[in-house]
Subunit: 223 residues, 2 copies
Amino acid sequence: MRAVVLLSGGLDSYTAAAIAKAQRFTLFALTVLYGQRHVREVEAARAVARALGVERHLEVEVDLRAIGGSSLTSDTAVPRDRDLEAGDIPSTYVPARNTIFLSLALGWAEVVGARDIVIGVNALDYSGYPDCRPEFIAAFERLAELATKAGVEGARFRVHTPLLTLGKAEIIRRGLELNLDYGLTHSCYDPSPSGQPCGACDSCVLRAKGFREAGVPDPVLLG
Amino acid sequence: MRAVVLLSGGLDSYTAAAIAKAQRFTLFALTVLYGQRHVREVEAARAVARALGVERHLEVEVDLRAIGGSSLTSDTAVPRDRDLEAGDIPSTYVPARNTIFLSLALGWAEVVGARDIVIGVNALDYSGYPDCRPEFIAAFERLAELATKAGVEGARFRVHTPLLTLGKAEIIRRGLELNLDYGLTHSCYDPSPSGQPCGACDSCVLRAKGFREAGVPDPVLLG
């Protein structure tokens, strides 16, 4: 069975893809080049796709910088050392990003005959983005039926979110059980020109907390 | 009030945008460059945006040729003189196209503070595409609430489909009442290298039927 997996080059999507692979899905990895701040993220996605042995790795360009509205797709500063418990939605929120990503995944799924889409969203150790919540995912599955020729012909698309209710440390433990090499991944929203993580953005802070709680060192920070 | 309008350069989206303008919306026109077969379509979108006096016209590139699966985004032949009554979904169907387009429109709407999105879909004189049906549009509105920061904060997005139940002749009559210049538009799926319509694809056939039933000549075919 084929699955289209959204692969960003981060720790979460790598783990989600590996879980799908362990469930015997043949992986079709989709990386969306949306005008991220740093090319390091895309290089990580390629390395992760290779390590996973995906059937195909497709990179699709969508220039979300044209749309703007986020510190990830504009020259606005990425917030550092933010209070993650505050419950607000930070400036790193990219308007409609997961809707756009899932739509592209749906299109490709229909083309390659996949009925399963995998996305590494997480609603526990996360930044409070609305499009990481289970009710959003359920609404997208409903939309997918109505949006496609395959749906009209009776296909039911399923969006798998294997990390949805896991804490970051649990995600890392699960990945280590699957022998993943997290040294290949890149999580930082705002790396240095040479690609070094900043250590202070939400993504770095959540990653560090995860490795700390899992009781293992982050291989990206070694050496 | 601001509205994001999906503008393709065709007759339908031009008319839908003009209806929104007549309803006093300030128009933010979005054209998706998705790897269409002919640049003529994009030129038409620019001309139409100018004629409408839109506040802004944004062109976003999304390479749907990478995803493929359609005669509009690959080198497969576009069908000619097809039986439009047959009820099947033709090869010009682009997997998940309107889902992708509406997702991008939603992202931009959130950025510019619009709560209204306008799309010129039509479920009467059309090619049978699943993502032109009212149930698809309703499901997208529901998704938009859940997908966005604005939705979490209580905004309700509305997707306007002013042409949904109109026949092609009615659309043209409505546009002529609004003084639209259909000579600016381009509908053909498979034009000649110089941009002349083929006259035989679904889009040309539906357009010709519309002008014939409206009792007016198609300005694109004059002169």
